[in-house]
């Protein structure tokens, strides 16, 4: 029997980006808010100080900041006919854990999705006809438009101090920015970061090929910044320890460096760390959430009653909690009915490694930041005519190399010995003159009927809960897309003067051991029809009006960008409607 705590106005599950944003907005509205976080409290000086943060073995190889698979994991299979097995070492993605969530270890790449991304089904059908889309593709419109989200993208960028060059200011295309982006209401709060040699060289070659390169929008500060909440960030030092690491220099936007210093001062905010929510509780009607049950680090079970529940965990955990709490109809791919677990997606990433004459090119790859890079957007979304190519979707591509860290940065030309003196010699010769962007081609993954999440029938975690089962494979559309984009990408490195360009196409089957990104999306998607979406366009549960679900789990399909900017914009959009509409008549469904 769980011990019962005094009731709160709001309980938030997970204190990452969206949990922090919602907590700050709802405490500003005068509500009593408790956030419950599975992992530990983390802050800069004690958890990733500059005299130990740059430790590739500890943080990158041994995954210090991430969830431990013995806490909980997932099972995986490619096809519905396979038997899923538990993941025992993280590979394709890195589940976050702890206060700040993925906002601690991300690179800071802060993109907006294209206006057409939000109306994808309508847009593609109008341009190419319904028959152009693969029959088992289940893409749909989001129910919210870019124009509606623009003010909220803007809020997040100003919260973070995003460094970048605007490409479209109120409809006017700007030199040096991304000409394909949707109109933005004002410039980025900070100028773009200065680009190191290889990134600048990429831009020059891309320009020569007729493209319009622009600096990747970055949550790494190009200069000192004070955000609208009064929190300070310092200039980035280009240390090259960004993704997988916490920033030791207060230079990367994270909940810790933008919101939490203000939030923790508020008397109406409370946070519980090392406490894992196991269930969202509902009343006897099943139509109202009454709070959550959680387990503390001593294994003691508690009930936190609340008037309103905000589910703000990572994609898969959002879906898991909905399934375990019996909220919404679980998705069944056989009947194509149900919504929880439906339209699960990831990303389609590939890369090229290029080798240059080491007597002429010294790139010093260790001088970098997490979101450094020059990109082109000519092959993203529907920025180009897909008609001749027989696929839909796309991605940005760029020289976005974020580091030259010693354990992983050992590029050698194809055909080199895999070990021994010859391999060492090749590493020495190529370390400073080879380029490997990491996520050079950042492609979309659209949704399919047989890619989904459900509860595993066999495997359970330490709390005896069924693990989430991932069923995922690449479809021909994404593999074709990737082949096309990777070739375009390789051409630019050739134009830079590379001696040799090795193309590493993304190939099927989907491999759970190879890192792509941590951009898992979908499973509890937003939309306009309760038969195909778990949430309405305000991220409110169709079934439980006092439950809102944040995060990329709401994406009906994934675009060719990093998701954080859109995740945060949706959080602000939802917070705004909660403050201005929902609270006037709480517990009721919001209407479009």
């Amino acid at each position: 029997m769980a011990r019962k705590l005094p009731s709160k106005d709001v309980v938030i599950i997970g204190l990452g980006w969206t949990g922090s944003i919602l907590a700050n907005e709802l405490t500003d509205a005068g509500l009593e808010v408790t956030a419950i976080e599975r992992g530990p409290w983390r802050d800069t000086a004690t958890d990733y100080a500059p005299n130990f943060a740059q430790d590739e073995l500890r943080y990158r190889i041994r995954h210090e900041l991430f969830l431990r698979p013995d806490q909980t994991t997932f099972t995986f299979r490619n096809k519905m006919s396979d038997t899923a097995l538990p993941i025992r070492t993280w590979g394709a993605f890195m589940p976050p854990n702890g206060v700040g969530g993925g906002g601690v270890h991300w690179n800071g790449e802060t993109w907006r999705f294209l206006p057409s991304d939000f109306v994808l089904k309508t847009h593609l059908t109008q341009r190419y006809g319904a028959r152009f889309l693969p029959p088992d593709m289940t893409i749909q419109d989001w129910g919210v438009t870019y124009e509606e989200l623009e003010p909220y993208y803007d809020r997040f960028e100003y919260l973070c101090g995003t460094s970048g060059t605007a490409g479209n200011l109120r409809g006017e295309i700007q030199q040096g920015g991304n000409p394909f982006e949707g109109p933005r209401s004002r410039p980025y709060p900070n100028p773009a970061q200065v680009q190191p040699f290889s990134h600048a060289l990429f831009a020059k070659a891309a320009t020569g090929l007729g493209y319009k390169p622009f600096p990747q929008p970055s949550g790494n500060m190009s200069q000192a910044y004070r955000n609208p909440l009064g929190v300070r960030l310092g200039p980035c030092t280009y240390c090259g320890f960004c993704e997988w690491f916490g920033c030791a220099n207060y230079s990367k936007a994270s909940p810790q460096t933008t919101i939490l210093p203000v939030l923790v001062r508020k008397p109406n905010f409370q946070a519980r760390d090392n406490s894992e929510v196991t269930r969202i509780n509902t009343d006897s009607t099943g139509k109202r959430a009454t709070g959550v049950t959680f387990v503390d680090s001593g294994g003691i079970e508690w009930e936190q009653p609340a008037e309103m529940v905000i589910l703000a965990a990572y994609t898969i955990f959002n879906v898991q909690l909905l399934l375990l709490s019996g909220i919404g109809q679980p998705y069944d791919p056989a009947s194509n009915q149900g919504v929880i677990g439906r339209n699960f997606t990831h990303q389609t990433i590939s890369d090229v490694t290029s080798f240059f004459d080491n007597t002429k090119f010294v790139f010093n790859p260790f001088i970098a930041s997490g979101s450094i890079g020059m990109c082109i957007d000519e092959f993203n979304g529907d920025n180009f005519d897909h008609g001749p190519h027989g696929f839909v979707g796309g991605g940005y591509m760029g020289q976005v190399q974020t580091n030259g860290r010693p354990i992983e940065t050992t590029p050698v030309p194809p055909g080199t010995a895999r070990w021994g003196a010859k391999w060492k010699q090749a590493v020495r010769e190529n370390y400073l003159s080879a380029l490997k962007p990491g996520t050079g081609v950042h492609g979309s993954m659209y949704s399919y009927r047989d890619v989904y999440l459900d509860l595993d029938p066999t495997y359970r975690d330490r709390l005896n809960r069924p693990l989430v089962r991932i069923t995922m494979d690449f479809h021909d559309n994404e593999l074709k897309q990737n082949h096309f984009l990777t070739d375009k990408f390789a051409e630019i490195f050739q134009a830079m003067g590379a001696r040799e360009v090795a193309r590493e196409y993304r190939k099927g089957p989907y491999d759970i051991t190879k890192y792509q990104t941590t951009h898992l999306c979908g499973g509890a998607v937003m939309g306009t029809d309760p038969r195909t979406s778990a949430l309405n366009r305000y991220l409110q549960s169709w079934d439980i009006p006092n439950l809102f679900v944040m995060g990329a789990s709401a994406f009906p399909q994934n675009a060719g960008y990093n998701p954080t900017g859109t995740v945060a914009a949706l959080a602000y959009w939802s917070a705004d409607v909660i403050r201005n509409q929902y609270l006037k008549n709480p517990g009721q469904p919001l209407h479009a």
Partner: protein, 420 residues
């Protein structure tokens, strides 16, 4: 009334009820009869200026004014007494004269002496009106029953009678004497610094028995494992390079373009100076800028000194990413080593402490970030810490004594019982 809006409204109700309960208490308390809300409000402000809450609250329970906080003195530890209006364990039974005797004469109602951990040698210069205002405010706070064993000193200091000897040596009772040759603002600053603000309690060097050294007012003093720096206008060790606006901002926000408050000063900012009016802070800054200080030039160490060379290498490797090559840091976030008074202090106590142990700066409403310096004691040995602090003290125009390896070792030892 929508359901979700209820709690915010209810909070206001509880506040109103709380005020009601308090006033009922106050009415029952003879001290507070005939309440004067303007006087209580003045007293609330003066209580913040005097930072009474810092010492008179127990950090383990957070109960304000209930006493129990251990206060380090050069002779041992005393605990702060309960100053809530509780009749048995607080000061609820004290008359106005009793309260005045304690604050301005260092005497308890039974005639025995207070230990000078209570800054009565400074409070003696307060006006009687200010004393009465503080008492009026304290009589409205919630009475807390909390018996505090104040005297935890070793023999012979635990004999209170000895304090009459101390008073004879050091205590100079008397009112604040305005200087008619100075502006009203300067005089207000002098009054705040010398009396209620009791800045000298930490910042003025002390003699062997803990009394202020004559002629060295506000020139810096080591206590509680920190060095409270010179806050005169001394160009090298004091506030000479800061404008009055810099000083005001530091006191108000805990941060200015050059530095951030940490250690006991962070506590002072949070509880006291961040709650003061801009006019009072400007007055304090004006007064401090007028205190000339020693203005003694130091001699700079040569750049090819072996400690300087080693220190430079360590600085480049470990410090320059945040504090920058030129020691300028990042305004309001990373302190400027080039413009921070603590760096060139004759005693490098604070500098060594911050390097060994790290420190968190003050969080205030204006500057909530509260950035931290990480600890380097686990990474650098004594010789390396001595070298890098020597380098910092003799670069960017600085000139201060070298830090020896043995001084670093002693500082490391001294910090062992003082974890952050």
């Amino acid at each position: 009334m929508p359901r979700m809006a209820l709690p915010a409204y209810a909070t206001k109700m509880v506040c109103a009820m709380g005020a009601l309960v308090l006033s009922t208490n106050a009415a029952a308390n003879p001290l507070a009869s005939g309440q004067d809300t303007a006087q209580i409000e003045r007293g609330r402000y003066l209580t913040a200026v005097g930072d009474c809450v810092a010492c008179h609250s127990d950090p383990s329970t957070g109960r304000e004014f209930a006493g129990g906080r251990p206060i380090e003195t050069p002779f041992g530890v005393v605990a702060s007494p309960n100053i809530t209006p509780d009749q048995q364990t607080g000061i609820g039974g004290w008359s106005a004269q009793d309260f005045d005797n304690a604050l301005r004469r260092g005497k308890r109602p039974d005639g025995t002496h207070l230990y000078p951990a209570m800054p009565f040698p400074y409070y003696t210069r307060m006006t009687r009106q200010d004393v009465d205002d503080i008492r009026a405010y304290l009589s409205t706070v919630t009475p807390i029953h909390n018996q505090v064993e104040v005297n935890r000193l070793p023999f012979p200091f635990r004999i209170r009678g000895l304090m009459s000897f101390w008073d004879w040596l050091y205590f100079k009772p008397g009112d604040f004497k305005p200087d008619s040759g100075q502006s009203p603002q300067w005089n207000r600053g002098a009054y705040l610094v010398q009396s209620l603000g009791h800045c000298a309690a930490c910042h003025t060097p002390k003699g062997r028995l803990g009394g202020d050294r004559d002629g060295h007012s506000l020139q810096g003093y080591s206590l509680q494992g920190w060095f409270a720096p010179d806050i005169t206008n001394d160009e090298r060790r004091g506030l000479g390079q800061w404008s009055t606006e810099d000083i005001v901002e530091y006191l108000k926000k805990g941060h200015n373009r050059y530095s951030g408050a940490s250690g006991p000063m962070a506590e002072e900012v949070v509880h006291s100076s961040s709650r003061m009016t801009d006019a009072d802070l400007a007055a304090i800054a004006t007064y401090l800028k007028s205190e000339v200080g020693e203005q003694e030039s130091g001699s700079v160490l040569a750049a090819d000194d072996p400690q300087m060379k080693a220190g430079k290498a360590i600085y480049q490797d470990l410090c320059s990413a945040c504090h920058r090559q030129d020691g300028s840091g990042s305004p309001y976030l990373i302190p400027s080593l080039a413009r921070s008074p603590a760096v060139e202090s004759d005693e490098p106590t604070s500098l060594l402490r911050v390097v060994f142990q790290g420190a968190q700066t003050a969080a205030t409403g204006d500057e909530p970030t509260a950035p931290s310096m990480p600890a380097f004691g686990w990474q650098l040995n004594d010789a390396q810490v001595a070298a890098v602090t020597t380098y910092i003290r003799n670069t960017w125009g600085h000139a201060a004594s070298a830090v020896s390896q043995s001084a670093a070792r002693q500082a490391r030892e001294a910090l062992k019982p003082r974890p952050n």
